[in-house]
């Protein structure tokens, strides 16, 4: 079963269509990389998936919950890490997590248990009382991922989560995401424009000017484009449209 099903979704800002008839799915237990140059429509898509924008055309299902009809049920199954940090810098790691737990309606006892478990899983237990302001970029991202996983979602969305991180932190983040897919059988949809973040097992979506121009495993996409490398295929698909 897929954690996310997007069917024929289009979106316009006034007369300008920024997403055109998108259809794809994100399988459980696997990382799906959504690639695209700046302005391709990645952030608009994330805004649709998180109910920040209304769905104008098409359907989106998160774990079988229709995002238009039952948004609250769908949002329960969704963990989100936005590109721009949404942590409160003046609060501690634990206080940020408690706030998130309360927004999901967890009792203080339940929240405490979940926070303890999740911090231990992410190896962040010793930083729980640190103010977020004192953490480095990599640790802040891990805290945001911990927060996004607190309510045990079926789908984790990351919007260019590696922006601003050094190469080592980026690599650690990617490894961490893949281990999450394997250990917890959740689907991860990660938007990026950094091709070196894609692994051989990942499912790849390439978005250009609001349209999906490639959808499948790296091997399948390479077979379709005469065994070129992914950067070559990406350049071909995105520049062709731009020209």
């Amino acid at each position: 079963m897929n954690a996310l099903e997007v069917s024929d979704v289009s979106f316009s800002y006034g007369a300008r269509e920024v997403l055109h008839a998108l259809s794809f799915s994100c399988p459980k237990g696997r990382l799906t990389a959504l690639l695209g140059p700046n302005g391709a429509g990645k952030t608009t898509l994330i805004s649709l998936l998180t109910c920040l924008f209304p769905i104008q055309k098409g359907q989106i299902h998160v774990s079988e919950h229709d995002l238009s009809r039952t948004p609250r049920l769908a949002l329960r199954e969704l963990g989100v890490v936005f590109q721009q940090s949404t942590l409160d810098l003046d609060l501690s790691v634990e206080q940020n997590l408690r706030y998130h737990a309360s927004l999901h309606g967890f009792s203080p006892t339940d929240a405490k248990q979940r926070i303890n478990d999740e911090l231990a899983r992410q190896h962040l237990s010793d930083r729980r009382h640190d103010k977020v302001r004192l953490l480095n970029g990599g640790h802040r991202r891990r805290v945001e991922i911990t927060r996004a996983l607190l309510h045990n979602p079926r789908l984790l969305l990351l919007d260019e989560a590696s922006v601003g991180l050094d190469p080592a932190s980026r690599q650690a983040l990617q490894a961490h995401l893949r281990s999450l897919c394997a250990e917890r059988d959740i689907a991860v949809l990660s938007t990026t424009h950094l091709l070196d973040e894609i692994g051989p097992e990942d499912h790849v979506l390439i978005l250009n000017q609001g349209a999906l121009v490639a959808n499948g495993s790296i091997a399948a996409i390479q077979a379709q484009y005469q065994q070129q490398s992914l950067p070559q295929i990406f350049a071909q698909l995105t520049q062709k449209e731009a020209l």
């Binding site: 700046n38 805004s47 329960r76 989100v80 590109q83 409160d88 609060l91 706030y99 009792s107």
Partner: protein, 274 residues
């Protein structure tokens, strides 16, 4: 229902922590009305004669008269500051974490409003404790009976702030709120001078003061502090709260939140590219 309660307590907890960590905010919230009380009121005490007016049953000092107005000044500035914090949260992207919660958005906004109101009331009681030491001493029971009135006024001003924040496109535009909202609301009210004084000076200004909901907020608190009930003031405040709250919820657009953050991300990308 329990989930809503946990949500409210979580938002309250966060607002309290933020308030506690920004103690200079408390200081600045108190300095402003204290300056008015100690400096302004001393200067104007002689200039403004006060007759016996309701709810007072005797002649009072000017300091005694303006304390309810200054209490409402704290609530007014806090209400507008909470709208500033909403604009800031929207610009910085932290509002998105609130909006991706599975709780109803109207509930989230109301919870945020109630939490801000409670924080404002804490500041008011600290101010009232200082004025007590200074010599302005309403009845003890009045301090208790004023609590519901203070909560109503804090909600009214918070809801107005929330509505305003929906219309403010950028953080920089907030200075306009000071000039076009806070100052007219405060000065065109009964906070600093009784309305009969205003009527003697200018009839049209008197009518403006009379239709200003802030005048009714001041009178509601003034009456409650002296153990009296002002029904018409309560009605005006309740109606204003309800209208502002409904309009704020209806005009709140998560799309705008996301667009602002996307713009911030794009400018970040451009800076990174440079």
């Amino acid at each position: 229902m329990k989930a809503y309660w946990y949500c409210l307590s979580g938002i309250f907890f966060r607002e309290w922590l933020r308030f506690w960590q920004q103690r200079t905010r408390l200081l600045s919230a108190l300095v402003r009305p204290l300056l008015w009380l100690i400096v302004f009121a001393s200067g104007f005490r002689a200039a403004l004669g006060i007759a016996i007016i309701a709810p007072y049953d005797t002649y009072i000092t000017y300091e005694t008269y303006i304390v309810p107005g200054l209490v409402c000044m704290i609530l007014l500035f806090n209400g507008m500051q909470s709208s500033l914090s909403m604009v800031y949260d929207r610009e910085m992207g932290s509002m998105r974490i609130l909006l991706t919660s599975p709780q109803p958005r109207s509930l989230l906004l109301i919870c945020k409003l109630m939490a801000s109101a409670c924080i404002s009331i804490v500041q008011v009681y600290i101010f009232l404790a200082i004025t007590w030491v200074y010599g302005v001493q309403p009845p003890w029971l009045g301090l208790l009976s004023a609590l519901p009135a203070l909560f109503m006024v804090a909600l009214m001003l918070g809801a107005s702030g929330l509505l305003l924040s929906n219309g403010i496109r950028q953080l920089e535009n907030f200075a306009g709120v000071m000039n076009f909202v806070i100052f007219p609301l405060f000065f065109l009210s009964s906070a600093l001078y009784p309305l009969w004084k205003m009527q003697e000076a200018s009839l049209w200004l008197y009518w403006i003061c009379l239709i200003n909901p802030f005048s009714h907020a001041v009178e509601l608190v003034r009456y409650a502090l002296y153990l009296q009930f002002n029904g018409s003031a309560l009605l005006v405040c309740a109606a204003t709260t309800l209208i502002c709250l409904i309009l704020a919820v209806l005009t709140f657009s998560p799309k705008r939140t996301s667009l602002r953050s996307a713009n911030a991300n794009n400018s970040h990308d451009k800076r990174a590219a440079l």
